[in-house]
């Protein structure tokens, strides 16, 4: 089954991004396909290349990057939401790409299920 994932909140402040990551990982482990993970609202902050969480805590951005590397998961940051909040080409972490909100609607059309995580 093909899943689209929507992440509405930034890392650390809310668990939303962590739960979305665990869901995505479990879906892949169960043999499902991830059509796309779309980062909207404050969710765009997951894609910063500049975060340095304490060494005894998880690194949310790295978690997403590893999924992209290992499973070619498409990680898309909303361009408009990102511009508003300062997530742009200059500080975009490798593994993420910036595109339009249409990519979320497309995920809604193409994926069998859309699962959203937020506040």
């Amino acid at each position: 089954m093909k899943f689209g994932i929507l992440v509405n909140e930034g890392p650390y402040n809310h668990q939303a991004s962590d739960t979305a990551y665990q869901f995505t990982k479990a879906a892949l482990e169960n043999g499902h396909e991830i059509f796309r993970v779309f980062f909207y609202y404050d969710g765009v902050n997951n894609a910063t290349s500049l975060g340095q969480p304490p060494s005894d805590d998880r690194n949310v951005t790295k978690n997403w990057q590893k999924l992209a590397e290992d499973h070619k998961v498409d990680l898309v940051v909303c361009v408009a939401a990102g511009l508003r909040r300062g997530i742009v080409d200059g500080n975009l972490a490798p593994g993420f790409r910036i595109s339009g909100l249409g990519q979320l609607i497309e995920a809604g059309i193409q994926a069998d299920r859309v699962v959203a995580f937020g506040d």
Binding site: N8, L101, G102, I105, E106, G108, I109
Partner: protein
């Protein structure tokens, strides 16, 4: 965008549960709704709980320094987005009536809206 010609038409519902201005959700949901129009999907908007405040008449956020995006709801029919639903219980709890709303809507009971939600293919709530 070849998905725009894919021919697949799904029932999308955007459920608005939050008041405007205190958070950005109302505004950014509206941006999602406008984009969805370009994909020729069967788009539904529901205003429930505090979401009914999003379409209250008379909003003027200049003094709090924010943009007044509420007129955009009136422009939705120009994008062929005409399925707007408001929950009757949500209005009543807040002392509001249909006359307080800035855009024509269909008022449904919570039970009716719940049933309609059950018919959707994709639901995005904020």
């Amino acid at each position: 965008m070849d998905e725009m010609e894919s021919g697949v038409v799904k029932k999308f519902m955007f459920i608005n549960r939050k008041p405007p201005h205190g958070t950005v959700y109302a505004l950014e949901v509206l941006e999602m709704v406008l984009i969805s129009a370009a994909f020729d999907q069967d788009v539904h908007l529901a205003f429930i709980d505090d979401g009914v405040y999003q379409i209250k008449k008379g909003q003027a956020p200049a003094e709090i320094g924010c943009k007044n995006f509420s007129p955009t709801y009136r422009a939705l029919d120009g994008y062929d987005i005409e399925k707007l639903y408001v929950e009757a219980e949500g209005l009543a709890e807040r002392g509001l009536t249909e006359d307080d709303l800035l855009v024509p809507v269909e008022v449904l009971s919570r039970a009716e809206l719940g049933k309609l939600m059950g018919e959707m293919d994709v639901i995005l709530t904020a």
